[in-house]
Symmetry: C2
Subunit: 161 residues, 2 copies
């Protein structure tokens, strides 16, 4: 499952634009289409490439407001956690959900059209699961958002130029 520099280049390209024809990718990384296609195929099988998706413009689908929701809790039992997790995951408005170290226990990124919709979401959430210490922070502006992970850290063999 080791990746080399060519694989990394391919991933860099696919993270930007997954519609690019394999032939063109091959050309850019210095490979003909077949080996390039096989590498992509392998990375999909290996789960390096998880999937290909369409990225939408938030404002155009009425989902332009991001709210970060910090949750602190006293409940730390495994059962409660599981219930909390599944409950939260089912909300489409929750696009990211992390268990944190430190001060706060969970952090959610919630996407809604406006403050009113956030309030409605919030009510629906706490109706489903009791939460005591919740704090909401509104994003005024999304300065950067990318699905592209940094590839500087992928392991490549030494003899690989």
């Amino acid at each position: 499952m080791a990746l080399d520099k060519i694989d990394r280049k391919i991933l860099t390209l696919l993270q930007k634009d997954a519609t690019m024809p394999v032939a063109e990718i091959g050309r850019k990384v210095g490979l003909s289409t077949t080996p390039c296609w096989r590498r992509i195929q392998k990375m999909e099988e290996d789960g390096v490439i998880k999937r290909r998706v369409a990225v939408l413009e938030p404002t155009k689908v009425n989902a332009g407001v991001t709210v970060f929701v910090s949750v602190k809790t006293n409940e730390h039992s495994d059962g409660w956690l599981r219930k909390f997790a599944t409950t939260v995951e089912d909300f489409n408005e929750v696009v990211e959900f992390y268990r944190m170290s430190g001060d706060i226990d969970y952090l959610l990124r919630v996407v809604v059209p406006d403050i009113a919709a956030y309030d409605a979401f919030y009510k629906r959430l706490i109706a489903k699961i009791a939460l005591t210490d919740v704090s909401s922070s509104f994003a005024m502006e999304q300065i950067k958002y990318t699905t592209a992970l940094p590839l500087e850290y992928v392991m490549v063999a030494d003899d690989d130029k």
Copy 2:
């Protein structure tokens, strides 16, 4: 630029899997391939669909650790903001970057392989731009991450079933 229920269905599918053939999308939304293709095309022209990308598995590319970085600042001049924004954006490790309301001014989501790499990133960051009040929170677990925006809020005409 109005979207109807069929468009919304198409977007739902494409947000999950952008490799699905247009013919199959058409079948699922009750349309033949041509009109379905034209709708997709139009949504791309209108910027509703921004692009199609490959989503990678973070752990497989050595980018499995997320750190949220909160920044407070006294500098609020337009020039400083612009410099800050462009500086931060250039770091591939920064995958999300928001200007916030309330207590903290900026929030970044940073992706790195481990704590050591985060420390290195942090040093590189503050070397480029002076920051006084910075606080880092580590995510222990990514419970949910999706690029799919909620489509419950898209405006659809009333007469549209």
